[in-house]
């Protein structure tokens, strides 16, 4: 059966409309959402025609007003111009003079025709014509542009990507009115034929990166692409690593900024998550707010996020190794407090930490999956389990409760969900090694994680650049966020055009003289300029007057 349909799909569009309809109907069989509407084209002779479209994916009003109405009512205009038999010439005339649609193209194969119908376009077939018209009539219900739910900001634009690829590219294009911005289209997924666009700024991005992205995308052989996660997993440099080497974002401003750092954006239809490559580890700790608030605020909160990152990765492990093996490292008063708290718990510190960590993950996961109306139930149960009740019941010590809570909060301070998830994942081997081998185990696993991260690459670029390997000029936007006027140069990854502007970014403030404020000086300067202009114009007027008088 599959083979038969495949054979039919490979057929060309015939001159006989009846045969074409038969072929299409054999392929689509009893699909209720694919609509067939027959009509008569009153051209040089009366010709039968048909339109095919997918109900729900098209704007029916467009079909009525831009295709059917001109073909059925205004067809006489063609008759006056052309009396030849139905040929390709007529088809051209219909396209050029009759169909009002903004994007019309011809197809000659059944497979192409079907692909367009299923994408939301409309196929027009006429009898005696061996090609079909495809008119762009896409129009389906889509979520309107709203706030990016996974990347909220205090200051900054509120618009986030939607499930429509065209809306998403428009959101970026609105921010970059640069003719060098390129968007290339391709389709991935043998069955889903998902629209995928790659965007980059020519002259900023290295050609090698664009070629690499293009090549990897073209090599994907998969039947369905339902979300950008599919693409991400298939084109990653290190597919087995828990660390993601491809950044995904819901924010158009983030994409626009990334394009001018020499990166490539990959838009996938049906998802609000756009992929950015290459990606560096440090970018996961950066948030859009860093760039919109003052550099002091941006740098401070970035440092806080780095601390959160370290806490999230190491705090439970450090607690367990100190409490289990190296108690002498804690100041005496704190050691006594922890020991008193641990008296109630029958379990070793490692088991306590593991149970609490798993419970926390359980509550987080349940909170995510649970229907909103009963979400509060999870909160209540969560606060009971990871709360005073667990301590009072003697299951855990109060100190581990605080450790797990701080770790949990820290993991949510990391702006990227994928990274926060990776950290939660690698935290467990670190915890087990610390609980069994103490400092030696912690050191060994930590070094292995570090080595692993150092070995990663994202589209050929070292994942830990520009710190390892060190690129001194790029340090202004890694640990801290330097002021914009200090970031005259783009990141080193940019191909050419390394400066953000030819002259300095920041306008120089006016030079002040003693005894007057800068603005006073500027006002006086302006006044003087005006006076000079007035004097000049008065002088000019006088001269003109004199001339006129002289003429008189």
């Amino acid at each position: 059966m599959q083979d038969k349909i495949n054979d039919l799909l490979q057929l060309p569009i015939e001159r006989s409309l009846k045969k074409n309809i038969e072929i299409i109907e054999q392929i689509i069989e009893n699909n209720v959402d694919i609509v067939k509407r027959e009509f008569v084209f009153h051209g040089p002779i009366d010709i039968s025609g048909v339109v095919f479209y997918t109900d729900g994916l098209v704007n029916v009003q467009l079909i009525d007003s831009e295709i059917l109405k001109p073909l059925m009512i205004y067809s006489s205009q063609i008759r006056e111009q052309d009396n030849t038999q139905v040929t390709h010439f007529l088809a051209e005339n219909i396209k050029n003079h009759l169909i009002l649609n903004t994007a019309v193209k011809f197809v000659t194969k059944i497979s192409d025709a079907l692909e367009n119908i299923l994408s939301g376009d409309t196929l027009v077939l006429l009898d005696f014509c061996d090609q079909g018209f495809i008119a762009s009539t896409k129009g389906w219900d889509a979520r309107s542009v709203g706030e990016a739910e996974t990347e909220t900001v205090v200051r900054g634009p509120r618009d986030g990507f939607t499930e429509s690829i065209r809306t998403n590219t428009a959101l970026v294009r609105r921010r970059i009115r640069d003719p060098y911005l390129r968007m290339e289209a391709m389709k991935i997924g043998e069955k889903s034929k998902t629209d995928v666009h790659i965007a980059y700024v020519k002259g900023i991005v290295k050609d090698g990166i664009v070629n690499e992205v293009r090549e990897r995308l073209q090599k994907i052989k998969i039947d369905l692409v339902l979300e950008s996660g599919y693409i991400e997993e298939l084109i990653r440099d290190a597919p087995n690593s828990p660390f993601s080497t491809i950044q995904s974002t819901e924010r158009p401003d983030k994409v626009a900024a990334a394009l001018y750092e020499g990166r490539v954006a990959i838009f996938v239809d049906n998802t609000p998550f756009v992929l950015l490559v290459p990606t560096f580890f440090w970018q996961y700790i950066q948030a859009s707010d860093d760039y919109y608030s003052s550099f002091w605020t941006g740098s401070f909160f970035r440092l806080i996020r780095y601390i959160a990152f370290l806490i999230s990765l190491t705090l439970p492990s450090l607690y367990v190794l100190i409490v289990s093996f190296h108690q002498e490292m804690i100041p005496t008063t704190l050691a006594l407090t922890i020991a008193a708290g641990r008296d109630v718990s029958p379990f070793p510190a490692l088991i306590e930490a593991l149970v609490m960590e798993i419970s926390f993950e359980l509550i987080r996961e349940a909170g995510l999956r649970i229907p909103k109306p009963i979400g509060q139930t999870v909160s209540i149960i969560g606060s009971l389990v990871i709360g005073q009740a667990a301590v009072q019941a003697g299951f855990v010590s109060p100190s581990i409760l605080i450790i797990v809570a701080i770790t949990g909060i820290s993991s949510f301070a990391i702006p990227n969900y994928a990274t926060s998830f990776a950290l939660r994942l690698v935290r467990f081997p670190l915890l087990i090694a610390s609980g069994t081998l103490g400092l030696m185990g912690f050191g060994a696993v930590f070094v292995m994680i570090t080595i692993h991260v150092l070995s990663l690459r994202s589209f050929g670029e070292p994942y830990t650049a520009p710190l390892f390997p060190l690129k001194p000029s790029d340090q202004k936007d890694i640990i801290i966020r330097a002021p914009w006027w200090k970031m005259q140069k783009r990141p080193q990854m940019v191909d050419d055009n390394p400066n953000r502007s030819e002259s300095g970014i920041k306008p120089e403030p006016p030079k002040a003289n003693s005894g007057e404020s800068d603005t006073d000086k500027k006002s006086n300067d302006n006044k003087n300029n005006d006076n000079n202009k007035n004097n000049q114009s008065n002088e000019k007027g006088r001269k003109v007057k004199q001339k006129r008088t002289w003429r008189k």
Binding site: I322, F325, H326, E328, M329, I330, P331, L437, G438, L439, M440, G441, F442, G443, A444, V447, M448, T450, I451, H452, L454, S455, P462, T464, F468, P469, L470
Partner: protein
Amino acid sequence: MKKEKITNGMILAIAVNLVYTKGIGVTQGIIARQVGNDMWIATALSILQGIILVWVTISIIRRIPQYNIIEQTEVMLGSLIAKLVAIVIFLFFVGAYATVLITYVYHIKDYFSPDSSILLPVVVGLIVGIYGTYKGIEVVSRFAIMGLMSILLFNVLIILGSLKDFDIKEILPIFTNGLGKNIEASIHYNTDWAMVTMVAAILYPLVNDQKTWFKSGVTGIVFGGLTVLIWPILETGVLSPEVTGQYIVSCMQLARAAEIGDFIHRYEMIMVALFSISLYVQIMVILYTASLTVAPVFKLKDIRPLIIPIGIILSAFGYWIIFNNVRAMTFLTYYWPPIAMSIAVGLPVLIFILGFFFKEKLQQTKANLPQEEQNI
């Protein structure tokens, strides 16, 4: 296996890491037992000798920058002698790995996990070392840069924590043992430089931009030397040379004595965490270089099949040495310095001299190399 390339900054970081961990503690303990408060002078003298050693090694490699010391020997004396040289260098790395294990295991055993078996840190070190070595020298070099940063932080912490107890009188008078005795004692720190020399002899062909080799080599030694030199000065001024000489790992004693303010009074764990990065860099670099040394003996282009067996050989010998404290310290004080110096000084000097006799042969080989290989 793709031929990896590293930068001059990376080789500099490797050099600093190689001379640091053993140099600040175990070596200083031995030197303190020999020359007392002149231990910092012996260390400084050793740094000067290190500069000469590395200069000779880089001069050898620059004759054919694409060939390491074994490959150059092959050009001059044939494959059989080259294999012999490879085995000798490998034996050097077997000994060097044992000295690294002494530093690593005694830190753990004496200060953090006294009840754990000796085998445990040896196996843990081996696993981490193998993992890092599998990732390649470029990754290890990046890790070495991280190690370099941690060394700097470690030094800042120790200076902040111990300066208040520093007594300059402990250092004075200087040269109490005379210059000769200090030079004799400097041989112990020379063994650490020997590691740098041998690693340089094998790894320098992987370093980009040969014009700056001398600069990076000498900078590495001066920088590494200075980061280490601060320790004998502090150990003498804070602990006194007598106390320093009492301990196998004298740096840990200094770290224990250090405290910042009233609350942060036991931060040796943070320091050891920083220090351990450098230790693991040593383990990985030695394992990588030893594998690279042996590869031509077995006519292998890819070192990966060798990493595990060589790791096991190095660890087995190291375990045998450290299993007995007395054996370890005897090896480190009496046997290792002459062995290390005769290989790390004797071999490069011999090949350096032989290079003058086989100058034409070397130049011919260099000229016959493909153009792109010549422009590294």
